[in-house]
Amino acid sequence: MSEPSNPFATKPSTGRSLEKVVLGIFRAATYFVLLCGLAIFADIVLKGLPTVANAFKTTSTFPYVTNTFLFEAPESLYVFEHEGKKLEMGDREFRAFREAEEAKAAAAKQPAPKFKPESYVYSAGGIWPCIVGTVLLVVGSMSIALFLGVCSAIYLNEYAKDGPVVRFIRLAILNLAGVPSIVFGLFGFGMFVIFFGWNVSLMAGWFTLAFMVLPVVITASEESLKAVPKGFREGSLALGATKWQTIRKNVLPYALPGILTSSILGIARVAGETAPIMFTAAYVVRDKLPWDVEKSADFFFQGVMALPYHIYVVSSKIPQNEYTARVQYGTAFVFLGIVATIAMSSIIFRNKLRSRYKW
């Protein structure tokens, strides 16, 4: 014992090693969750990316490049053997090919070749109508939800005094947030589709989705309004402005960025939900694009294809094999990409905003 031992040094004890073990378990839990999320993400990106990446094609008209997966409508896929080769073709291509072959055979005075294709629905072509439909649904429902939500939040935060009515409203908002999305779907079906007679339409989907995200938007807006310091309002009121002038000029402008960024999370939710639009707005397949309507009023009362519903259809209604996996993973990848971009931008904007406004 050449050195005197430090009497205050930490001594190894069972308690301390236990602490390390428990800490390790907690840390493992955290990273396990992240790993699971990452695994799913990686699987879908790795298998879905080639679908989109391989679909680029040059064209002869202006942009000179297009993506057949992103910008074409879904078609059936035909797989058949021809002259010893295995061929895969989309619906239109297959018809053209068959006609060409038959014409060739007729010219050579041979019997027309027989094709025995196996067909897989929706497995060729792209998902353009679904992307359009999803964007339309999100834009419409978020406009409704933002309007209703911001107005509700203004009332709750600026006008209302705490009392039974306000408490009741807050309770309703809390409960509305907990209602399962499929129940919203049933409600939308019962009210908009049947009672109002809107049928399966954009309008029905908009309102159903808007009511579903309403609690998210209200909560987000209220938080942003609360973040505006009291002094802003008092200063304005002291200068003789009315309440509405104060809100319009001195509260809303400062709260609006926050409201919008937090509501992006609501957008992610709207875009990601399938259950509410299943019976209210989504079609399994529709040939026309939404703007191909005779009267402009028809625009609001037409059903659309939507990405989440399309994923459900292609993953449950057609078999899983090498030919269908392409479109399944591709659709999932595009959809996940869209939603992830929205969510990511919400998180980034929020962090930026936090550092911008400091009062």
Binding site: I40, F147, P180, L186, F211, G272, A275, F335, A343, M344
Partner: protein
Amino acid sequence: MSSAPTTPPTEKPPESAKAFPILKERTRFFGLTLDETIRAFFGGNAITAVVVLALITFFLFKEGSAFFGLNRESVTLYRKAGLEYVDYMRAQQESHTALTRYLFDIRLRAVSELTGKDGLSVAEANARLTAFDDFAGRYSDTIEPIRGMVSELTDVAVSIKDKYTINEDAKTERAQFLAAGMTAEADAVRIIEIDFKAELAPLVGVTPVYIETANGVATAITEVLASPPALPVPALDYRLTRFKELNRQFLATFPETRRLVETWDFQKPVPVLDTVTGFLFGRQWLTASFWQDWYGILPLFIGSLMVSIIALTLAVPLGVGAAIYINQFASLREQRVIKPAIEFISAIPSVVLGFFGIAVLGSVLRAWSQQALTLPEFLQGIPLVSWVLGLPLHALNAIAPHIPGFPFSERLNSLTAGCLLALIAVPTIFTLAEDALNNVPRSFKEASFALGASRMQTIMRIIVPASLSGIVSAVLLGLGRVIGETMVVLLCAGNRISIPDFSEGLSVFVQPVHTMTGIIAQEMGEVVRGSIHYRALFMVGLVLFFLALLINFFAQKIVRKYRISIG
């Protein structure tokens, strides 16, 4: 501000209005000033949440409430047309079939035992089991008389039911003709009132024959059982004993069936309450059958519950553990990365998770349960990586046989769905639990440290208990999310509508189930509007709605009641 003048109006000089220029007439809408109008407008918007909740309740009730009346009609017809009578006998036949299956199961085990342990060929094993096969054959034949009766009576009952249905259709047709003012066509519609009593005569007439047959069957079974074969596998003898015991129980039900058949009355009214309990506690959800449709929510409810139990068992430790780690241990930089990352997981759409379950997770879990986990192909080629990653896989494969329920053969089952739902619940539980931990005042922690407690003691005995109410409510809200989740269970839970077999221990958790949310999503698109099935789906929606409200209510109540006063 419009205040009443306190002094009687005096003569005002006209200049005074100019001297006080702010005083001006306000624009009024319906007697409200502009500001009050704006306030009312915002207030009206704030009511939306309340209105929407009320509308949801109203429309679910509106579409669903007719279910009970329709179901009562259906059950009444079930009784009047004699289907109920036939079902008493059918139940007997089905119990017997189940017992026969039990015998087959014994045979299967015996064969695997003989070929596996004793190393016999299949032909030899079969040769050894001839005595047993003979016994099983004789046993399964004993029910034949009843089986024959049931199939005959089934036809009779179905024909009565069909006649009634055709008649009802004719009645509605006539009503439609009359409503349209087409009397001639209405008169042409032929309606024959059904005399149920006369129609049922051949059915009820067989009661004495049935009793005789049943007695015969009972004697036959007893006779067959009296001479059981010696099994070549002694280890399975206990199963044969169990089989006899089951048969004894089966025979004990004969007098009860006899009583039911004898006292059966087609005119006995169906109480309204029965339709309610039949829905809430009914053990069968059977639709579009030629015989009788049943709408019992129990199998769906149990399915939802089992999936949720799996999800929460996985998600609570992970979510709460992660929350404690992030809140108490993690460095600031770690927090900044992990918190958004977990939030990000919550943004993965459920339908994508469901697709992942179908495409990947289901097969992986099944492979694991069968000890057949392997690396993906592109990793197998790389020598070092495949070795390093292979180790945990081997470990997982090694522990697979020790996990209850493994191996299983269904790719899509409640475990697959539960695992994915756990991933949905974790962000909810994590965020709310982390908030709760965050709300514990600093002074609690500091006081604990000052008293000499270690970090672990502080966390486990002070901080977690102080935030327990918040954590519990976080778990409840996570449960709410899981129970209400649709797409994952629709795609991954296997969609088999039956109450899982609880007699098999923990392997119930790897059986396919159907859930309340799943059934709505699956069947809503296909039902006829206004039919009983359609109404039943709305009733399921209503149950879900109230379940969600209940969970929310408890979550809020727990937070309010057990919140530690901070001061």
